[in-house]
Amino acid sequence: MMTECRRRQPIRQQIQTTPEDHRIAWLAALAITIHVLESALPSPLPGLKPGLANVITIAVLLQFGWRMAAWVSLLRVLCGSLLLGTFLSPTFLLSLAGAGCSIGILWIACRLPGRGFGPVGYSILAALAHMTGQFTLAWLLFIPHPEIWHLFPVLMTAALLFGIVSGIIAGAMTREHRQCRT
């Protein structure tokens, strides 16, 4: 059978954006804003941040799944650093390490069987991983002095507290709590 050859019509496509896309974009913008504002806070070790933007990561995780949360985290770190002019700087690397470790542990946490964690649980995991990732990188690359480890227990305690608070806020933000999926 011969294939008919037809003149193809140029197809104009309009990119439709869904309300979901709007919401994600809005959340990403919020995350970036928080990231930028956080840079104004003083910190015990240069570049180490409490990770308040984790609230957004957890909210996105619960509503849109892990992949989206990973994207938003990455966007937050990249755009935030571009806006602050810290792209590729030590601060950027620390943010990246923190974000990377938190979404890493969230990926593992999402795959666990059973009813799983709620917003507070994910948030605690993310906050602890975030702090550990940042601290370890800071120690390996920037301040290999063994005595900075004296700060570690204090920072982890702070991370736990921030994690609980972020989790409560993220839970309040997301009215429909969905099981996160990878």
Binding site: E147, I148, H150, L151, V154
Partner: protein
């Protein structure tokens, strides 16, 4: 604020170091004032330096003179300061089935391990080694009676390197006790004796990894114990990719090659020093029998493959940093 700490240096009187007997001597004190520590440290330093000079087999001194006279095969009176060491060395040699042999001085010199400096290759000629081995210098060729000494074998020549450090440590401990010091460690590289405790806890000793920079294991010592380690990494030279170390097997004339290190715990350091050497030469196959003969109760031997051999009592006492894969436990000693 958390990083700043109390920056007072710990009392330097608690550690005293000096170079003697071909190694670094580290004296650790506990609970005495710095002037006593200083004084004791200086006295030990002088003692060790003098012993080093007296017992050097190949530089002018008491031992060299003794060796010259022994070669004549005439009887003479042994130097009174050297006599106890010769008696101890002879006795320990017999106990070890002569695997520890203090009279193979000519063989050790042939290899170049007699001097303080590290020899450079190449290894000695096979024929030369064989000749010396066949002359069979042995402590059984020596009669030592009432301070009079005679050798019936001109090949006999004392090199006390394998037992001198242990003996020196024992004399050093005696001196410390004479000063009323009852808590101290004398550490001469691989040879160490500790008395007393570190305050309210026992002394903690780290055993170095023979093949790496870190610590392999830890031991807590009792009130008066010595730890001695003999290894192929202490004095050696490398020639054409092969390592030749200073612990010569008197039976073959070549460096003993079945072990990489031996650690012994015992009361006096002289016996422990001779035993560590003998057990190193004995290797994985014969160490148990020799240890029994010499009355040693704690042995750890590491062979060429990294396999660890030890008796059950030693296994109880030693705490490894990382559990080794391969441990062979012997029968109780």
């Amino acid at each position: 604020m958390l990083l700043a700490g109390c920056s007072q240096p710990p009392d330097p009187g608690q550690h005293r170091q000096f170079f003697a007997l071909g190694t670094l001597i580290d004296i650790t004190f506990y609970g005495i004032d710095s002037s006593t520590a200083e004084q004791a440290g200086t006295e030990l330093e002088q003692l060790f330096l003098r012993m080093h000079a007296d017992w050097h087999a190949w530089q002018p001194g008491i031992l060299q003179e003794t060796n010259h006279r022994l070669a004549t095969q005439d009887e003479f009176s042994a130097d009174p300061t050297l006599l106890p060491l010769l008696e101890a060395a002879n006795r320990l040699s017999r106990l070890s089935n002569e695997l520890f042999n203090p009279v193979i001085g000519k063989l050790i010199a042939l290899w170049g391990f007699h001097s303080d400096e590290r020899p450079a290759g190449p290894p000695p000629d096979k024929a030369a080694i064989r000749e010396l081995v066949q002359q069979h210098p042995s402590v059984t060729d020596i009669t030592l009676d009432n301070g009079r000494i005679r050798s019936s074998n001109p090949a006999v020549s004392y090199d006390l390197g394998a037992v001198a450090k242990g003996y020196a440590i024992d004399r050093g401990i005696e001196r410390l006790r004479a000063h009323g010091i009852d808590n101290a460690i004398i550490n001469a590289g691989g040879d160490l004796r500790a008395i007393g405790r570190h305050g309210d806890r026992p002394w903690r000793i780290g055993i170095r990894d023979p093949r790496g920079p870190g610590v392999l294991a830890a031991i807590e010592l009792g009130d008066d114990e010595s730890v001695l380690t003999s290894g192929d990494y202490e004095r050696f030279f490398v020639y054409k990719g092969k390592r030749y170390h200073h612990i010569i097997d008197p039976r073959s004339g070549y460096p003993a090659d079945s072990a990489t290190s031996v650690t012994v715990i015992h009361t006096d350091a002289t016996t422990a020093d001779a035993a560590a050497t003998a057990l190193f030469v004995a290797g994985p196959k014969q160490w148990y029998a020799i240890a029994r003969r010499m009355g040693i109760h704690y042995v750890m031997l590491i062979d060429r493959n990294g396999t660890i051999y030890m008796n059950p009592a030693m296994r109880q006492r030693i705490h490894f940093e990382t559990e080794p894969a391969d441990i062979h436990l012997s029968k109780p000693l």
